[in-house]
Symmetry: C2
Subunit: 352 residues, 2 copies
């Protein structure tokens, strides 16, 4: 859009050249002084600092990047932003990156778009690394990392490649926790509303759930969306064997399940049918949902993802770094509570 | 974190120097060739392009920024990210910026943080401009723009300064639309649940609402949050004159109002009390809310904000550029519908 345009005069920010001229030193000396690399004599340094102060010069991160080859910018690739859990993740990553001296270059893509296509977009910028949320099992992370020449850390979901770096919730454990809680509450007709095929979250949560049940649950795909969760619940409840306990692979589908039960069947979650979700997104605390759910801490995950990326960049860690974080079950009102239930990693919402 | 560390060898991306060496030309010639500025002979250009191809060199946006002083990066400053409407805005801005050849550098801040403090953070990066969502009336945009030397465009909310650029919904019109709809439906006990003090949205929506009513509505602050909207609704309904029509300055407070009516008072929105929101955020289409609301198109606003910023950067527009976009009322089930109501800027949800 601006190619060939005249340089706007408005953006008259002082440059390192202006500082050099005023200080009577070379531009290279100014660069060395602000990058803290290489030798600058005490006298020259004093002159440079005085000149920089007079001119209001601030060496910016991009300018530093020319010197030390770091841009201090990390690409965050995220899909499905309409779900508040991902927003919480984005907010947390952004905060953790800033604390670590990096800034977020955002690549938000439609969930239908292939993550692999992001390579060209990210490649247009010089980024130090990539944090990728909502990968698929098939995402070719190794190829992307090689093509871009920077490390990639996956978050929340992993890809089925041996060499990838990731930090994810222990989803198998999460599924087991839910099954054990439902069994202890006396349920015996189980259903699992899965997310999208190809997401490690959906697969592992279902596998953990199934592994701890005496018989296979019914399974319906809910697409990680409100509409999908609603339709799956309707199909289950109108089917030949309506479940009395429904585990949803994400909170948004659980909210839909609760609404479908109320508005389509006149049933109340927690009294008539138990509904348990996964993520503990903000709406789960709303009065209308009051959702019992697996807490997959976006804050801890985000901080670890940034720590891992930093360690890889500083060569203090060797790939692959792979971590599964413990999860716990937050007990609220949408699922029947077993009497005298005590288990590790299960906690009552305070104030109950 | 990485200061003084040895340069990692991994990021061995070919540089313009490598291309120059292989092509047997100067680095300056490579820069000219890729920036499309200045003269490069045909033969040299052919050699440079061949060398770049062989080496897999791609001139990245940051490298270009050295040449034309544009970084192709726009800072997007956003607060209150936990409300899905802001997420939609962020997603739309990001898409519009990419289409225009820019990328989003994200600055998400807690809503409690003073926006003015962002100057230092943004100043650490070389950005071409700033799009600021969720400004306050008191935000000193002129000072920020001067300090950073780049244009700023406000979105969704404006600041009370004569010189600022902004694109906002016509909030006064929105408030009037709601009042006229409620009056036509026969309501006569009105309440307004406001947002935070200091937001142009909250003030103008309330002013427009009030201006079209025969008498002043009751007003409660709802803080633009679920909890705030819930508490405000409780206070109104337990008060001496419970309203029969509640206008909320944002959808999230309207969802809370609907939940409070149902769970605290056994009342149904649309039948017992009319509730109207503002934004048409995703959840408003959920079965549980089915919210009648003012549509303040995040897509149009985002696209205009990017167009305005581009025009300012290309000096095709002169500040201040100030736009108020028409809004319309989307009629769903949460408010009583006047019989035979026909008005401009009011539309029934299709499929009703």
């Amino acid at each position: 859009m601006s190619k060939g345009k005249k340089e706007p005069e408005r953006t008259k920010r002082p440059t390192s050249y202006d500082v050099a001229r005023r200080a009577g030193v070379s531009q290279a000396a100014v660069s060395r002084a602000f990058s803290k690399r290489g030798y600058v004599g005490a006298e020259a340094r004093a002159k440079i600092e005085a000149a920089a102060k007079e001119l209001g010069f601030r060496p910016n991160a991009l300018a530093r990047s020319l010197i030390d080859k770091r841009s201090r910018i990390v690409a965050v690739v995220i899909a499905d932003m309409y779900y508040s859990f991902y927003v919480a993740i984005l907010h947390q990553i952004n905060g953790a990156l800033r604390q670590a001296g990096y800034q977020t270059l955002l690549f938000s893509i439609p969930s239908s778009q292939d993550l692999d296509t992001i390579v060209d977009d990210v490649g247009d910028y010089r980024v130090d690394g990539i944090i990728m949320v909502s990968a698929r099992l098939t995402t070719d992370v190794a190829r992307m990392s090689e093509a871009l020449g920077v490390p990639i850390v996956l978050m929340n979901r992993y890809a089925d490649q041996p060499s990838v770096n990731f930090v994810v919730p222990d989803d198998h454990q999460g599924g087991r926790l839910v099954a054990e809680f439902m069994l202890a509450a006396g349920h015996h007709r189980f259903a699992y509303i899965a997310g999208i095929e190809g997401a490690s979250t959906s697969r592992d949560r279902g596998d953990g759930f199934r592994a701890a049940l005496p018989s296979s649950p019914q399974v319906k795909a809910g697409d990680f969306s409100y509409e999908g969760g609603f339709a799956a619940t309707e199909a289950l409840m109108r089917g030949p064997a309506p479940p009395d306990a429904i585990f949803c692979a994400s909170d948004i589908m659980a909210w839909a399940a609760i609404d479908a039960l109320r508005h389509e069947f006149g049933l109340r979650a927690g009294r008539d049918v138990s509904v348990i979700g996964y993520n503990d997104a903000a709406e789960s605390r709303w009065r209308n949902y009051d959702l019992t759910t697996v807490v997959s801490s976006p804050d801890s995950m985000s901080h670890r993802a940034v720590e891992i990326l930093s360690a890889l960049l500083d060569r203090e860690a060797t790939p692959p770094v792979q971590e599964r974080l413990r999860v716990h079950l937050k007990v609220r009102g949408s699922a029947r509570v077993p009497s005298d239930y005590e288990a590790e990693n299960v906690e009552m919402e305070t104030g109950r």
